[in-house]
Symmetry: C2
Subunit: 370 residues, 2 copies
């Protein structure tokens, strides 16, 4: 058994499964076919890259392939029935399913099943009634337990350590790619299991591109350097952005950075349970709007983080769902001025019963690297 695989939440697997079965009951389903790997991990602890999970009222069956035979024992133990398939996982499913008596209506994950595999349900699985479901397991994942929060905190700490060490080495003349390489090495050294998304290092005018990759651009004195990156600990992600200046900041750089920082602080400080996602988004957006840069903040305020670096809830202009205690979200306002540059400041925030706790400890003040 491998507690780390579950983020300290090993004992929660039975509760998670019970909650899922309750949700299936309410949806009038006799079972669920789980094809999303993060959902499989959440329910069983299995971290391999090839799996199907069948949930019925009486059984939990995990199908994977021979490559994971040793690993799956270690991670899942007796918590699920494990079937190792020599060729296709689907072969195993069609062999197993007929034995599940009373199972007729089965949900499948519409957002995680390719049309190709959906066709299998209609063909080899024609004797069952298949019902598309959306966000069934994901909704359970939105509120984190203590073990999960601890893993995210650890991922945040790893990310922060790596960023601080990287900034110490930042110099004019380096390329963005070299900075990304430095940061990734520091992330590994600090204990990150991987990189939840491609590291963004965007300098000078490129910092105005909200999703720039690192490029061969050479960092120059006076440039903004926007760094958006993540870390992973026990499967749980951190997602952080800081924008620094190489050398002394200009008046204008300081002004824009101040607005974004204030927007972040207002949102991080006032976000709380019961609030709608759109209301959280408005905390930052209204301030940026009022300062005249509303048009330059072209994305939403944030998103949940956990086993995936983008998950529910959403903090956006159209997000009606209310937030709840235990959710961990990013707060990442930005201002992007094409041709000139941009600033984004992103923190990870835990929503609690009586407010919010910012998990990121890095200073939000503008850093001028000497």
């Amino acid at each position: 058994m491998n507690p780390a695989a579950l983020g300290g939440g090993l004992d929660r697997r039975p509760q998670r499964l019970a909650a899922l079965r309750e949700a299936l009951g309410r949806a009038d389903l006799d079972g669920l076919l789980v094809s999303s790997l993060p959902n499989v991990r959440y329910l069983t602890g299995f971290t391999g890259s090839n799996a199907l999970l069948l949930v019925t009222p009486l059984e939990l069956v995990l199908f994977t392939d021979f490559r994971y035979a040793a690993q799956v024992e270690d991670e899942v133990g007796g918590h699920a029935v494990v079937q190792i398939e020599p060729t296709s996982l689907w072969t195993g499913l069609w062999a197993r399913l007929p034995a599940a008596t009373g199972v007729e209506r089965i949900g499948f994950e519409s957002a995680h099943l390719l049309h190709r595999d959906f066709s299998r349900l209609l063909e080899q699985g024609a004797r069952w009634q298949w019902r598309p479901v959306v966000d069934c397991v994901e909704q359970l994942r939105e509120c984190k337990d203590e073990g999960e929060v601890a893993c995210i905190e650890r991922a945040v700490a790893i990310a922060e350590t790596a960023l601080v060490r990287t900034l110490e080495q930042l110099r004019p003349g380096m390329t963005e790619l070299a900075v990304a390489g430095l940061l990734e090495h520091q992330l590994r050294d600090a204990g990150s299991e991987g990189f939840p998304f491609e590291t963004i290092v965007a300098s000078g005018p490129r910092s105005a591109l909200p999703h720039a990759r690192a490029s061969e651009r050479v960092l120059g004195l006076g440039d903004f350097v926007l760094i958006d990156f993540g870390a992973v600990y026990a499967g749980y992600c951190a997602d952080i952005t800081r924008t620094v200046v190489l050398g002394p900041a200009s008046e204008r750089q300081r002004e824009i950075h101040d607005i974004v920082r204030e927007a972040n602080e207002r949102a991080s400080g006032a976000i709380r349970a019961e609030m709608q996602g759109m209301a959280a988004d408005a905390l930052a957006r209204e301030y940026i709007d009022a300062r005249g840069y509303g048009e330059a903040f072209g994305h939403s305020l944030g998103h949940g983080i956990g086993l995936e670096v983008h998950e529910g809830p959403r903090l956006s202009r159209s997000a009606e769902a209310p937030l709840a205690a235990g959710m961990v979200v990013t707060v990442e306002p930005g201002i992007y001025l094409p041709g000139w540059g941009g600033v984004r400041i992103e923190d990870d925030v835990l929503i609690t019963a009586d407010g919010a706790r910012v998990l990121t400890r890095l200073d939000r003040q503008l850093t001028e690297l000497s």
Copy 2:
């Protein structure tokens, strides 16, 4: 315009599109909705992470979102009609499609469209006839042009440089994760755009796990260290494995390594156009079988590489399709002995009109690190 985005094959976009339109004609389709991002990149040069591409006999329309407004101009230029969508790409598609006169039967990529999006075709797209297609663009991608081969060669060279520099620093007492960190840093320094898959560093008995991740395991004297990793240049991937010994090798380590090396050499040397994928697989498998380790070679011989690190063709026991000049494939035999350790030696090989050319230049002899 950005030739690098297309791997030096910028001028090939019109030919690729013409070949695709021909294939659509043969399949009696009036158009194709492309949702696979590597396929979008191959046809247009666009490298962003959110896109839909509509191919009709007269038009090529690329839908993406505002984040990529600047980038898409740069990469795609006038080669496709670009539509920037403020919310969903699908909104753009449904607004555009009615203007495509004569377009009735449209293919969609069954292996790259989620059920959720397939439902959109049946609902908002009910007035068209949607037909699942498989490997339509992927088949065009299997044979590489000169520019693509040059990019893969460059990726291979980057990977080799990084591995050599990493091996120089390998010492007993380091963890597998530390080795992965070193290697990734060297990959970045050598010019890799990223990591096409999670770096595998598996030492000692863990080298018997064909898909081990790097772990906290500490490298000891006498351990096998299996390193399977990739590099990316202009979007094109290299995929290489070497297995070394920390210190002097044992008799048994040498024996197993010799068999795998000989299997690799036999396959790399004799693979050629017109041969079926299964015949290529047999080149290595029959030798390993004859040496008594057939059961310990539990995966297929190799796969194509290109814009994806796993693509067609397959070199496996069941692969009937014939190989062709221009394909670039991995040749990666292995022997895995649970509890003891394993060896895999993986090269990247270009199939030519008159044989094959091994792109990997690294020695295949067993390296004993001192």
